[in-house]
Symmetry: C2
Subunit: 593 residues, 2 copies
């Protein structure tokens, strides 16, 4: 069995490509060194292998169940959260004054990758907790931070995000959960909250002492009415048990969702305020619920991308292992039926599938780490210009980081099943579960369609293409620096970027926003592949023959070449209806289906 | 809830497009009329809705289980088989002397579509039985037919195909099941058979009185050794209970496979001959096992394509229903947050997904019925030339009929989940099960990779492109007859066919078969899309405005236009590495991964 992540690949990304050593020279990261990072990754691998990987199948088979006490999950969940916290991973990304290590986001993301590869659904509890604690640490009062963040980072309490409601999923503006003022105390302005929250991952379970919900709700105006739209939304801390008294708060499990995959993560419908109102404390100002939530959204979405990536990567590694060990058939040139069967990895079509898996998942991992580095650069680059540029490029790439792995690492899962043949279709192997688990990622934290509108509408058209132009400078630099044996690929990337920019010019001729955004998803697909072309071309320019063996280097080059030969041509296909502003989807009528 | 199949679409395909009325004028179909066909489809819809559809979810949740008596399945399976037989569907495609209706394959396929849409995994028992009975009816002796086919067509016994073994799946030449001569009786030459058979759908269950296995095995030579390769394979009838005595034969359930989907169909590892040898009677000549099996393979593979199609079609119809009834968000042009939310079918990106589903699944259904008609033409066309041409084109299109729906109706299932959002990811809705069920179809009856080698190697290159040229004549006729408002699409189809043929010429320059076939799967993808372009263009040329309402006609035109605008451009992307004979997959080394 392969290890969870090929360490040489990870080291190549971190050191040779993203220059971690230089990053660590910044004063914010003075506590860290190449050696300490290496030790952290070793620990992540060990812990992921001992406390997460062994329960991957079990978490699928033994789903959370509900009784009068609420939701019950595998006992291994609590063990995993505790071990994760004790090893310092829950707090790794937080400031030392919160008990954290202040590690670069890049390093924390690389460590996280191990847990995502080992058992994403089990690891989800910790990642949700980190996101929750991050928001409170950023926007909460000192008392809120001490009361809620501290036990979260110690692994005693977990956290959730409560956004969706049964009637409001993608359209958060339509939430109707109400928060009525109820005075104030040392934890801030207090409210009584009533409503229903849907799709809450980790919304109830018995793997921690308490659960800290972050709840979007609306405070009624003087007329008792809710303000329409997103402007009326505020955000509240609603713990399952009240701090201090330990009394049960009025937030209860109404039901568990039974999912296609990701079953180890409990997913809940929560009722708030059935018995008079759930106590909640507001974080930040009234009406700032969405901006506060979205401040964390880049990192949450990149986190989804990382989860999708590692899920697909795991499938790739399992398929590789299977293909090396399954004898079946003979070379096309062999007519001798008496000869031994060969391992299927020797068949061209199996190699095609594995190369696609490698190009998709290793490329996606590189993209995610590239974005993780941008998070660090946006916060710690040495000039204000550099920080602003990193922030802008990060905003542009975030919808790609979220969707590209959700589509293409999922495609790797699909191919991993195919490489396994009939065996891959059975539950005796993990690849079918990996597909089912990964299928969620194109849906939650903003569907692919929503991300496409974000990319084309908000990040490109509304900005007049300025950020895109900034990103294009990075791409041009990569094209210029391409190795001589990748001149053809460099030219293809240049052509792809030119096609995207020409397509944008064509779209400016549109009559209105509806027409302009009609084929946003196709544009996202095309742009995503161009970004991955950039990533692969940039990667092969950083291959150091003195540090890596020939097999490693040939493998990376082959994956890059494969991506350009088999994938980059798809860009033209996706752009075809975009550049002609094809109006079919707008014109289509319900009655015609 | 939508009905299982839009009847207007089915009627359009059968009557306006495939000219069923003309087909029925052939003497072989004298017993049938447009009215009797219509009544048969009505019955199929009614029975599929009453005896198959209601148990779709139950079959997924309550998997077959094994105890000392063998495998147990839902009681609804037996009810469904019995009702299906009593309504005449088991025998529908058989000659009247076997108690059948002698219905055209086209009609039988259309009726079958209803059962596939309602509950493919439950319907599988009957389809396997039909395939089994078909083979025996074709190649068996009168005594074999009377003994085995008769109770099968009465719905009392079911049938299986036992090809794979644990060490021999795609590579049937490597089977090692042995058949030792054991005299002869009225059922023919008798053998004692020993071996293990894997992936046997319906291999054991308690839904019928007996199970008739058709088993591939090798008869050892005088030296006791098995003949290497496929030449040594013969085919045998091995019933679970011996006819006459009713004694238990030596074929036993060794284990059930627990699958990602298709769970209502028991899937078995069978042990033969653990207690001295399973009694079997040879069908046909020694060494003719594979040719006999493959004689049935075109129809079996088209059957897989039909199953995949209807599975995706069902997902499309459910997604359509959901999109019409789920309010979420507002039009892009609406800034008024107080306005009511709109049904998601009004969002362009949702319409894109539904149009893709429509283009994929209605296109796939048309393709399958086109192939079903070719089966009829190959048998009953009025001239020998026409029969030969139909047989040749059928051979060419069979790998497409098998794989295209397995890939693209599956893509429709995937989109149906996406249209449902989070709800689609729960098991409360059927779309996630439909995906899981359909995922099998790219694997069994020859994987996509195997089909690609069949298409490019056997059907095109080995034949010097002659059959392809025959098919191209049909395409040219369609291009010529295209309606004026589809001139652009007609030109695009012409260009696609020219690109495929240019690509074949480029490939002739290859040094060897290995190089030529390295990118066969990409070629299959490209050819498949061209075939579907042909199907859609031909369909819109047959739209009769006097027979169908404007909504119907606009819908078909929109789906056709969508396919050409969004899908046909992918052909160039797939062909790019094929026409340059890209050698990446051949050159790739195990150690480079």
């Amino acid at each position: 069995m392969n290890n969870l992540i090929d360490r040489a690949t990870l080291d190549f990304y971190l050191h040779d490509w993203l220059h971690l050593e230089t990053l660590l020279t910044r004063p914010q990261f003075a506590e860290h060194s190449v050696e300490s990072v290496s030790a952290m990754l070793d620990t992540a691998e060990r812990l992921a292998t001992s406390h997460f990987l062994p329960f991957y199948k079990k978490g699928d088979v033994q789903e959370p169940y509900q009784d009068a006490d609420g939701a019950h999950v595998l006992p291994e969940v609590q063990n995993a959260i505790t071990a994760y916290a004790e090893a310092g991973f829950l707090a790794a990304g937080f400031a030392p004054e919160l008990g954290g290590l202040g590690a670069p986001n890049l390093v924390h993301s690389a460590a996280t990758a191990y847990f995502m590869a080992a058992n994403g659904p089990l690891a989800a509890y910790s990642f949700l907790t980190v996101g929750n604690a991050n928001l409170i640490a950023h926007f909460g009062t000192p008392q809120q931070i001490e009361t809620f963040v501290t036990p979260e980072l110690e692994g005693r309490w977990t956290g959730t995000m409560c956004l969706s409601e049964p009637q409001a999923g993608s359209s958060l503006a339509d939430i109707i959960t109400r928060a009525l003022p109820d005075g104030a105390d040392e934890l801030g302005p207090r409210y009584k909250i009533t409503g229903n929250k849907m799709w809450i991952s980790g919304g109830d379970h018995d793997a921690a002492e308490n659960i800290v919900h972050l709840v979007l709700a609306k405070i009624p105006g003087p007329d008792g009415k809710l303000i329409a739209g997103s402007k009326g939304i505020s955000i509240f801390i609603v713990p399952k048990f009240l701090p201090g008294s330990g009394a049960r708060n009025d937030v209860h499990l109404a039901g568990l969702n039974h999912k296609m995959g990701c079953r180890a993560t409990s997913n809940c419908l929560l009722n708030l305020g059935e018995h008079g109102g759930a106590i909640g404390w507001r974080v930040g100002e009234i009406g700032q619920g969405l901006p506060i939530m979205f401040h964390m959204m880049n990192e949450a979405r990149i986190g989804v991308g990382l989860g999708a990536t590692m899920n697909g990567y795991r499938g790739y590694r399992l398929a590789l292992d299977y293909a090396r060990n399954r004898p079946q058939g003979r070379a096309i040139s062999t007519r001798d039926a008496v000869s031994k069967q060969i391992p299927i990895i020797e068949h061209a079509d199996v190699k095609r599938m594995l190369l696609a898996c490698k190009a998709y998942t290793e490329g996606a991992l590189a993209l995610i780490l590239y974005c993780a580095k941008l998070v660090d650069d946006a916060a710690t680059a040495t000039t204000e210009d550099a920080r602003a540029e990193a922030e802008a490029v990060l905003g542009l790439l975030t919808p790609v980081a979220k969707t590209w792995p959700s589509e293409w690492a999922l495609a790797a899962n699909e191919l991993a099943i195919q490489v396994h043949g009939g065996y891959g279709y059975t539950r005796d192997f993990d690849v079918e579960q990996l597909y089912r688990d990964n299928r969620l990622n194109a849906i939650h934290e903003g569907t692919t369609g929503i991300q496409a509108l974000d990319l084309l509408g908000r990040k490109i058209l509304r900005d007049q293409g300025k950020i895109l132009a900034q990103f294009a400078l990075r791409v041009q630099a990569t094209i210029k620096a391409a190795p001589a044996d990748f001149a053809g690929e460099a030219a293809a990337l240049g052509a792809a970027m030119a096609a995207l920019q020409a397509c944008l010019r064509d779209m400016q001729a549109a009559n209105n926003e509806t027409e302009m955004l009609a084929n946003a998803t196709n544009f996202l697909s095309a742009f995503g592949h161009a970004v991955l072309g950039f990533v692969w071309l940039d990667l092969v320019a950083h291959l150091d023959t003195t540090r890596y063996d020939l097999n490693f280097i040939e493998g990376k080059k082959a994956a890059a070449r494969f991506f350009f030969a088999f994938e980059i041509p798809k860009i033209a296909a996706w752009l075809a209806p975009v550049s002609t502003r094809n109006g079919l989807t707008v014109a289509m009528q319900d009655g015609w289906f």
